[in-house]
Amino acid sequence: MSAMTLTLRATPSGRIDMSGVLPETLGGRTAGDIAAQIVRVDGNPVALGDLFAVTPGEAGAALRIDAGSSRLDCLGKGMTSGTLHVEGSAGHYAGQNLRGGELIIAGDAGDCAANGMRGGLLRIAGNAGNWLGAALIGDRAGMGGGVVAVAGDAGDRLGDRMRRGLILVRGKAGAACGARLLAGTLVVAGGCAGAPGPGLRRGSLILGRAPDIMPATYNDAGVADLSWLGLLRRHADAILPGVVSDSSRVHRHMGDLAFGGKGEILAPA
């Protein structure tokens, strides 16, 4: 089954909104038809064919975007099925409202990736920007399902107001990691900057390195052997191996006590 391919003709001068450029919407269509699809560059309508060379593919095949760019926003937005490969970096809002399928970004992702994501898998081989899996301003909750796997680092406010799902980060996270987390599981193998989990209500923030500062609103619950971490490790290893520690023995801090105290930060024992 041959993949559809969009090859970027030149580095764009403005920001391209890639909404609607999905394997499920382009599959099975002719090259001319795909090239005529309208996308927005800095808010202005432009034919997709003016920006990309189009190689059509079969219905149900993967969509490949060659030579990605940090100016390509909203990649995979609202995707429900199929696979979208981005051979390079992505701009902001990658995987926004992702419902299913797999979005693979070979480079870095900009800010606000996985906003409103409800299902599927988002892989980022490089680094992710700020607000990964977080709520957009005005939204009550952030990511609500699915899995995000980041092989590099993540920026500030990782998982802010995240509601459900799993985020795996092999590297480090920036400031306010897990802020206002409502539920779900956030794993950061490389630890995070500053004090983690401000305003965390429920859910689990699992850090591969103990934080420099544990907020005063977290109470030390001691060391425990938590068998669910074995389940999580098996699941995570199939997506991003080695992110969850082999040991289920962790140091548990419960909090944020200013917000109910039903959440937890787990650090190495």
Partner: protein, 298 residues
Amino acid sequence: MIRNGVSIDDTYAEAFGMRATRIIITADSLAWAKHSANAAFGFATSVIACGCEAGIERELAPEETPDGRPGVAGLLFAVSSKELAKQLERRVGQCVLTCPTTAVFAGCEGEEQLPLGKNLRYFGDGWQMSKLIGGRRYWRIPVMDGEFLAEESTGLLRSVGGGNFLVLARSRAQALAACEAAAAAIAGVPGAIAPFPGGVVRSGSKIGSKYKALPASTNDAFCPTLRGVARSELGADVEAVLEIVIDAVSDADMRVAMKAGLDAVCAIGAAGGIVRLSAGNYGGKLGQFHYRLREILA
């Protein structure tokens, strides 16, 4: 039909449609998983008075279990989904939740689901936490050794219960030795259990009794001590009869288990004191599944 000197009666075992589920119990060691399973699947020989029939299906290596710890898979059978749900919750609540280091997981998929940790989570008194991993929901319930982990639900299976055969031998010791071999063979069949102690039954029953309160009573036709006073099925050369009862998750598994058990007895043969093989039925009007011994051994 005669196999290795053993006469095979031209009869059939009559079995019934039942509801079943499989659960997986894990622990820090296989010994603790078995402590829990032995309690959870204990007192579960017959639905007549135990509410369900249950047993350990097999031991599981760490790589076979969801959490990577040693464990056991067990099967529970009941006459209705409601009764099965009741028995499952009681047994897991009293025998798995209570047992150090254990966790419990669904062992099968089903179109319908039975609550596993769904209601037990309330033991956490508000401190319980839910985790959705790989599309499956688990409950983390704080207990004194850490946390009890229970999957929210397990699958409901439409299964078969009450497959059986009778081993007629020249002595009790010979009947028992043959049944031990049969039980061992059945234990190696996935999807089947022999729920009675050691997999063997000595108190085969018939429906009804001279006492109105009793739904079942001793199978006098196969009681050697009643020869001469009751209508007997036993010849002069039979001194003891033992029965193997089997529950299985499917008709196909039941046939495999029946054949494994019958073959094991036939392998011992007349030289081992086995005279006949027979089976229990109720005239064919009660059970949906009939297992003809000669067909299975053919």
